[in-house]
């Protein structure tokens, strides 16, 4: 007997929910011509769908090589964006770094799935397992702790939506500006993007705390998966 199957189904469903939510965000982003956070939406869609397949084997699809290619491409994208951010704004922790780390973790999960398959049975099988080397537990542990810390500090941040749009986005700038002249907390719960006048369904879906919540769920699922791979 190991981890009960319902736990894996729960994580699988959460991953699908994050994916579905990110698809919605992406649709609103395209139709509303908002430009910030599209790359994060795409990354969350891919991560959510692929991780759902890791938690529940029956939900897995697509060849491993295709997923490896996707996450390698996302990793390169976010690393380049991080470097460009540093080049533009000087030495700081770029917002894209955590998404690069998440893409890197996903890539590792496909490259070194043996850890999970050797210790986990039943519902969760890592369908794409093909044997080979095991992920170094030290690296997996560091990444897992990084994701848990990202989740905690994202939830505690008085400025919502940064996990999605970054600290350089116009929305973030306006939030900080309002915080400097009024109350950041008061503003942080309301919808805001590069276009602050968003209402209706889009306003609800693009609520910054909801965007942060999707990041937090993704961080936890990924951290859990890495712990399982130790």
């Amino acid at each position: 007997m190991g981890t009960p199957a319902w736990l894996y189904y729960l994580f699988g469903l959460l991953m699908l929910a994050v994916s579905g939510y990110s698809v919605t965000l992406l649709v609103f982003s395209v139709t509303g011509r908002h430009h910030f956070g599209r790359d994060v939406d795409i990354a969350h869609i891919c991560m959510g769908v692929s991780m759902a397949g890791m938690f529940v084997a029956r939900w897995a699809f697509g060849p491993s090589a295709a997923w490896e290619f996707i996450f390698a491409a996302l990793l390169i994208w976010f690393v380049v964006r991080s470097l460009k951010s540093i080049q533009r704004f000087g030495l700081h922790k770029p917002h894209e770094a955590i998404h690069a780390a998440m893409s890197f973790a996903m890539l590792l999960m496909y490259l070194y799935p043996v850890g999970a398959t050797s210790r986990v049975s039943g519902t969760m099988s890592m369908a794409m397992a093909r044997g080979g080397a095991k992920l170094d537990p030290g690296l997996g542990f560091i990444l897992a702790v990084t994701f848990f810390a990202s989740a905690v500090f994202t939830l505690a941040s008085p400025v919502k939506g940064v996990s999605h749009h970054g600290s350089h986005a116009f929305a973030y700038a306006t939030t900080v500006a309002v915080g400097a002249t009024g109350s950041a907390d008061a503003w942080s719960g309301s919808p805001q993007h590069d276009s602050p006048h968003v209402g209706g369904l889009e306003g609800v879906v693009t609520t910054p705390w909801l965007e942060d919540a999707s990041h937090v769920v993704m961080c936890f699922a990924m951290g859990f998966m890495l712990i399982l791979m130790l």
Binding site: M1, G2, T3, P4, R119, V152, A177, A180, G223
Partner: protein, 336 residues
Amino acid sequence: MTIGEAAERRFPTVADRGMATPRTGPTRDLQRTLQLILATIWLLDAVLQIQPFMFTPGSSGFSGMLKGLAPGNPSWVAHTITWNGSVIYHQPVLTNTLFALVQFVIGFGIVWNKSLKPALALSIVWALGVWWFGEGSGGVFHGAATPFGGGPGGVLFYAILAVLLWPSDGSIRPFVAARTVGLTAARAIWVGIWSLLALLSVIGSGRSPRALHDLVAGMDHGQPGWLAHIDRVSESFFLHHGTPAAVLLAIVCVIVAAGVFLPPQGAQVTLVLAIAVFAVIWVAVQNFGGILAGGATDPNSGPLVIVLALMYWPLTTSEAGPVGPGSNGNRIVKEV
């Protein structure tokens, strides 16, 4: 004022580039940052609690691990541990799910300001319960509570951190731990902790080369190659220099205990010493609490002692006077 005007006032380049310079929002105060680090550790514990082996009954599971802690303790202590192990043995999924939920509640509770105090209170109760029922009282009752192995019990440090990180609007000078309990009490707690660690280093099996060797040897199964290599070095070192190492650790603990009374620069030196020593112990002796071998429930005492040390790091503020109510404690803090 519109949002755009506010942004332009703070970031003149925003309107031109659609981007802001990388300035951060309100400065998070150091006590809050340490609370969030504690929350991260609690959530790590919660996730470790839902590893497959935790739900497995029998000697290879969580209940078997707990029962293994009972031998050596006085019978009245051992009985409570085996009783707990039996409950988990019969209901592994229910009990383990409950344990994980409690830790998730504590971790997330610390994150939100409104639930911070109840979460810290729960963490104190939970930590004391786990120390007794789940850690065999840290080996204190049978003389095996050496700080090398996490004595007097890694989980006790969660309770200490919760007390010292209890939210308060007071000044964080001269260090974070003094904000809640006051300078005198904070110093007394510090001296008490490090004196206990010094004592535990040299009593019982704590100074036995064989016991220290076995402590590491018992951890190295299933560790990655690089850590197993470090373990072999540690085992050999303890076998040949176990007693001097224990005495040296006791001396270090006494120096660190006294450091809280030194001027800021001197205190910083002793804190760096404490952090460095426990970082080495965490890696080379505690093996990250055994997490990398896939059979741990917590990261052991190493990171918690380091967080504790950071709470005593001497600080000064760029603003005069204490933080007032409603300020959220947000203030720029710089080192001395």
